[in-house]
């Protein structure tokens, strides 16, 4: 990546836009702003990788892709961070996201209107739709035409779906007998070589099954092989290994620049607009450390994490769950189940799994050890999973605060309080019943569930008024107009879809907004 020479900006020059973080929130807008002729610089905490040279098909070696500055997990359902959600490096968490790219459905954005809970989004599906279309075409999303759920599409998926692997075949077969519709999933990984101007050719997916620990071929549309090289070509500068420690304001209270550490040295970059794209933990943490933009009292509040229960089973068939795209098959029949006793809904997805991840889950989730653990793991090649991805409501008790404990950088560690509420518990119970039925119908034995929540969402919510929201529908801070929060931190509700696609859609603003 960055084969072309990269433009460099002076630190004393006030750039039109400074972007902190190069993941889903920062990357698309970096390209958009550079394309509009603006002077733009991105600061990224982690390093720039060359996937073909640097990425091993080995989970332990790939720990380098995870955000490992320690977070304290509190509440009744303490969240696992690191490999479960947050990334570091040029490309951010997209370096290890699963590539699942479902769109939201229109009613995902109106939980309050439909159920009287959470918040409605201050924007509608029609606002996101043109960006979804643009993204699927630009990134090369592989998916079925037609896609069985959601509103009719203006643009078909540009590539055929990726092939189904063993877990997907089992789920498809069982769902058929139970009357649950399934479909090959939409994935931002190429089922055929794909060319885009500004990027060049990307090769087709080789079914390596390692999306969650780094794609070494560029087939997966992580930001480092898509929007970031495009941004550089359009004139953006990306500075890796620059860790921002403070935001600075001028006399009028506008953001004037940031302080960051590079090679152990504190530096400053001036800017006219700041886009803080650190995700739903680092973004509010940075605002709290800088004491900014919290007149509403909502910074750090309403932390959410998708319901993500997994159900695993042991089959006579050989599955070898390390092969093929992990998220191969989907069903959205549970988007609004008729018999639901909860608000919102969820997706069902088949899952492949890497061996260390699975072993660790068996240890934590089932508490198996000794001979029993080793015996269970000998069945790895006969193991298949299904998981859900469901809504999570905002609750007062789920929030982020700065702790008194300092991390290795000398910054306060964030403490995240998280407990599933009644709605999430009922949704999980509903989903567990269905997933067990599916696996029983598929012939599984030793079925077990792994309780899990995934993705970090909320903490700087978007709304119509600065009284109870941090940013407006464009992501602009109500208090500091030249501060923008483009990513999951601004989600007012969690949505029953994997978040990447929607973050990108929010990160492709028309440049006239600035």
């Amino acid at each position: 990546m960055f084969d072309t020479e990269m433009r460099e900006y002076s630190r004393d020059e006030s750039v039109d836009a400074l972007v902190i973080g190069t993941g889903s929130g920062g990357a698309p807008l970096l390209a958009r702003l550079a394309g509009a002729g603006l002077s733009v610089v991105a600061l990224e905490a982690g390093q720039k990788w060359n996937p073909a040279r640097d990425f091993a098909t080995d989970e332990k070696a790939q720990d380098k892709l995870f955000w490992t500055d320690e977070r304290l997990s509190a509440g009744n359902d303490p969240l696992h961070f690191g490999n479960n959600n947050s990334g570091i490096g040029v490309g951010g968490s997209t370096l290890h996201y699963t590539a699942y790219t479902p769109r939201v459905q229109p009613d995902d954005l109106r939980l309050f209107s439909d159920f009287g809970v959470a918040r409605d989004w201050p924007l509608s599906y029609a606002d996101l739709e043109p960006y979804y279309d643009e993204l699927e075409t630009f990134l090369g999303v592989s998916g079925p035409n037609p896609y069985p759920w959601g509103p009719p599409r203006a643009c078909p998926y540009p590539l055929a779906p990726l092939p189904l692997n063993g877990a997907a075949q089992l789920m498809e077969r069982a769902c058929q007998t139970l009357g649950i519709r399934t479909s090959p999933a939409a994935n931002a990984a190429l089922s055929a070589p794909y060319f885009r101007k500004g990027i060049g050719w990307r090769a087709a997916c080789t079914n390596r099954g390692f999306c969650q620990a780094g794609c070494s071929t560029g087939a997966k549309a992580s930001m480092d092989v898509t929007y970031l090289p495009l941004a550089v070509q359009l004139g953006a500068e990306i500075r890796p290994e620059c860790f921002v420690i403070n935001l600075e304001t001028d006399a009028a209270g506008q953001i004037s620049g940031v302080v960051y550490v590079e090679d152990g040295i504190e530096k400053r970059q001036k800017c006219r607009n700041l886009f803080l794209c650190g995700g739903a933990i680092e973004t509010p943490r940075m605002l709290m450390m800088s004491g900014l933009a919290n007149g509403s009292g909502q910074v750090g509040k309403n932390f959410m994490a998708h319901t993500g229960m997994q159900v695993w089973g042991r089959f006579d068939e050989e599955i070898r769950p390390y092969k093929g795209i992990p998220g191969s098959l989907i069903s959205e029949d549970t988007h609004r189940p008729k018999d639901a006793d909860f608000a919102g809904g969820y997706l069902l997805q088949s899952i492949g799994v890497m061996p260390v991840t699975y072993a660790s889950q068996v240890a934590r989730g089932r508490g198996l050890w000794g001979a029993e653990l080793r015996e269970h793991l000998r069945g790895y090649n006969h193991t298949a999973g299904i998981n859900i991805l469901g809504d999570c409501l905002p609750y007062e008790g789920n929030f982020l605060e700065l702790s008194d404990e300092k991390d290795a950088r000398g910054l306060p560690k964030p403490r995240i309080h998280f407990s599933n509420g009644e709605n999430e518990k009922k949704m999980n119970a509903h989903a567990e019943t269905i997933m067990r039925q599916v696996w029983e119908a598929a012939g599984a034995r030793d079925i077990w569930k792994f309780d899990r929540n995934a993705h970090i969402i909320g903490t700087a919510r978007m709304g119509n008024s600065g009284d109870d929201a941090v940013v407006d529908a464009d992501g602009k801070s109500f208090e500091i107009p030249n501060l923008n929060l483009p990513d999951t931190s601004r989600f007012p509700s969690a949505l029953s879809a994997n978040p990447g696609h929607t973050i990108w859609a929010l990160s492709l603003p028309p440049p006239h907004l600035f």
Binding site: L72, N83, R364, N381
Partner: protein
Amino acid sequence: MPNPTYPPNTVRALLHSDAVTPPTRAALLERLDAQPQAPQFFDAAEMATLRAACARLIPQCERENPIEIASSIDERLAAGKGDGWRYDALPPDGEAFRRGLRGLDQSADGEHNAPFAALNETQQDAILGSVQNGAARGEVWQTLSGARFFEELLADATENYYAHPLAQEEIGYAGFADAPGWVEIELNQREAREPEANHV
């Protein structure tokens, strides 16, 4: 159907073949050929307790040269490396491990008047089980959650064991043979470089 077993001595041959990309080969050979290091984080007594506990969590009686687990944990703690989070209920990793290992010795002393490492396997298993269930005796367990400490110790041990190429060989994993890509990905499909299960 019982769980399959897989033939031994396949992983090294694969790693030296052109079916593995250079970065993957480098990472796995380094682990495969690692020599046990002298402990840097734990003292000798703590290390003995940790080794004894790991030998029960992941028993490897059949291996002439067991996969090193305790050393890997020691190495991680000495380097100050973590996985990005910890239970708020636990102290920082290093302190949690030191106190937890002391707790195992206290429980062993209370029950059998001997350090944990000196107990027989049945006695060790009983103590580990009581820590896992939050029912262990000993002063340490009054202020350290036994269940959470056990979960962390077990996860650490398990991840280190199954990251080892020989443990991956044991379960028939061949994902590291990553150079050609996979074509046969459906049920009951196997490519030539994937070891075939022994027929039972």
